[in-house]
Symmetry: C2
Subunit: 383 residues, 2 copies
């Protein structure tokens, strides 16, 4: 879709200004409620993972190898932000999500998630925050280090909700054959969890498992696989999650405190490739069923619930990016019920993140599988 820029240039941090329209800019797309076009915002990112909009108009983009980039006035600044901690940039690991504090204008705090190196091949999902001033991150402090071990599947989204923040952690590819013995079924660690923290990383004392023996007090829900998607509904305040499942097992869940979402005991997926069964059934008392599934799987990543003015017909819809699916999925909702999903932009590339911009446009981070330079694009309505 976009001109490929040699990785060497990218690594050198050259400014990659959007000079010419890409092919897709002239193409119009249809959908149930809106026609739209896709416009490149900036390009030349290596494995972009998270996007964030700052009050002054800047956009922050994480690159998985460990760089935090700034897009200013449509230009990708050549120099990454200084002060980002070292990351375990192996496989799925690296610098992952980025979210500004709700009061960024006054406190300049930016939150990052990443796979923290723990020696050898060990790493875990970690949250830091720091002050972003003069394009540098200072006063970086670690506020959450997940108790996990394994490879990949870091989860690793952050959302703010009032005085709280939620952080998702993946199941780190522990064998699903463990069933009830899987660490995601054992809340004395952080494998496969959504966690609720105060903004400084301390644990609210009304979290569901506080004071229950060895259970990690930060846990809000557990039994997840790889939740790369987390969003708070802008009207209802409901917490929504999507998790990257096995074949046929990508789920959307409504997250409620203390609940077990079943991985790997119950679920709808089978192993990729072999097609072999994973679960002991699809449902079980005491384990929450998904609100929505995709068949075939799309390989869910970023998630956003739209409430902007550019696409009125999409207000209240849940948008989820598809990696393997190379698409943007829109789920039309009726309250807490999913009515159906609509595939948008089939073939656009691996959609790692989806965010609503302050302008009401919908921004996508395209994450090339092998790290070829990739764009941030946005959907604009065609009226």
């Amino acid at each position: 879709m976009v001109a490929r820029i040699p990785t060497a240039l990218l690594a050198a941090g050259l400014a990659l200004v959007v000079a010419v329209p890409v092919t897709a800019q002239s193409q119009e797309y249809g959908s149930m409620h809106h026609r739209f076009r896709v416009v490149t915002v900036a390009e030349g990112f290596e494995h972009p993972w998270g996007m964030a909009f700052l009050p002054g108009g800047d956009m922050l983009v994480t690159e998985r190898p460990g760089r935090l980039r700034i897009v200013r006035n449509g230009n990708l600044l050549p120099t990454p932000v200084e002060g980002v901690p070292p990351v375990f940039a192996v496989g799925q690991g690296g610098l992952l999500d980025v979210v500004p504090h709700p009061d960024f204008s006054s406190n300049r705090l930016v939150y990052l998630t990443y796979s923290k190196p723990q020696g050898g091949q060990a790493s875990t999902t970690t949250v830091v925050r720091g002050r972003l001033e003069n394009d540098r991150l200072t006063n970086v402090e670690e506020i959450f280090v997940a108790d996990t071990e394994g490879r990949g599947h870091y989860g690793s989204r952050i959302v703010f909700s009032g005085e709280y923040m939620f952080v998702s952690v993946g199941e780190r590819m522990a064998s699903p054959a463990l069933l009830e013995g899987h660490p995601a079924q054992d809340p004395t660690n952080h494998h496969g969890t959504v966690n609720r923290l105060y903004h400084d990383g301390t644990v609210p004392q009304d979290n569901p498992f506080v004071g229950q023996g060895d259970i990690e007090p930060s846990i809000w829900s557990y039994g997840h696989r790889n939740p790369q998607s987390l969003a708070v509904h802008p009207q209802t305040g409901d917490l929504w999650e999507a998790e990257h499942g096995p074949q046929g097992g990508d789920e959307v869940n409504l997250i409620e405190p203390g609940k077990n979402y079943g991985w790997p005991v119950v679920g709808f997926g089978v192993n990729y490739g072999s097609g072999q069964r994973i679960h002991d059934g699809t449902m079980r008392d005491g384990m929450e069923p998904p609100v929505h599934l995709w068949v075939p799987s799309i390989a869910t990543s970023g998630m956003m619930i739209y409430d902007g003015d550019q696409f009125p017909g999409w207000r209240g819809s849940i948008f989820v990016g598809g990696l393997a699916g190379e698409l943007l999925s829109r789920i039309e909702m009726d309250g807490q019920r999913a009515l159906f999903d609509e595939t948008l932009l089939y073939g656009i590339g691996r959609v790692r993140d989806v965010r609503q911009g302050p302008d009401g446009y919908i921004y996508l981070a395209i994450d090339d599988r092998v790290g070829a330079p990739s764009p941030i694009v946005r959907l604009e309505p065609v009226r």
Copy 2:
């Protein structure tokens, strides 16, 4: 969507000419590949179930209570076709599918499926054919009577493919708790089967189970639930089926000879209402997994694979009507692989049948739940 006409008028067989545009006619709908509008073709049907187009321009429509109707020059003829056999018009039973013989122009043969009364509350899926001349059916002969017992779930679609015809039969609501002991897992009867016959109802001797003891020789595949959807791909000749499953278990299957599609041993659904598990897992060796699932369920009914000129972007897509879903679902295919489904016309009403007309428009039979007079509509492109 349409003006309601008193059932008494309908039962009296009054001509229900399309006189004024319905609301939906002026509404345009968007979709990924095409914009379209919905135009009423004829209205005033009571539980329309099957639609067929005859070479001379007439359209045949079955009404479940037992009437075969003719739409001629846009008018629903007031008098039903004479000669239709008596039907067991109880619950889901009645006059069901209608398909003209591929050589109708020369032999005037029309095939009907229905629930044949067998005394008391007994009935079974049955196929007759007869000659349609002067708007009357004559020489009606019974060519297939399924060996089933139970309530509802008749399956009951017919498709022609070369010298063969395929007939689907439902599992008659036998308890899924029977698992391996369920009659759909026992091919010595017709519960939950797709059957292959010659046009006269005799059994091809190369059917997969011919000569295998007590197995019904007409069976082409088994282990189905309620297959109200059957279509032959116009290019590849592949036989596609959809079956109305439990909650979360509506399936699209590629039908291959001798194969077991797993009902009720494996599947993805749970019981409506209770949400209780039904299956012993989602997959098993020797049982075919679905090519596509809908979550949430749409309650699949008629099926069609498009190859017309009015909607070039939809060629090769599988269309399936949704009853409870009140929608038309389009599945974008890549060969035998389902890429995604697209919901069209959400809220249109219960779509019992979907057919491509000889004009390339897409026709839908809307089947009101309680039998209020209902229309046949068609999708026309907006260019």
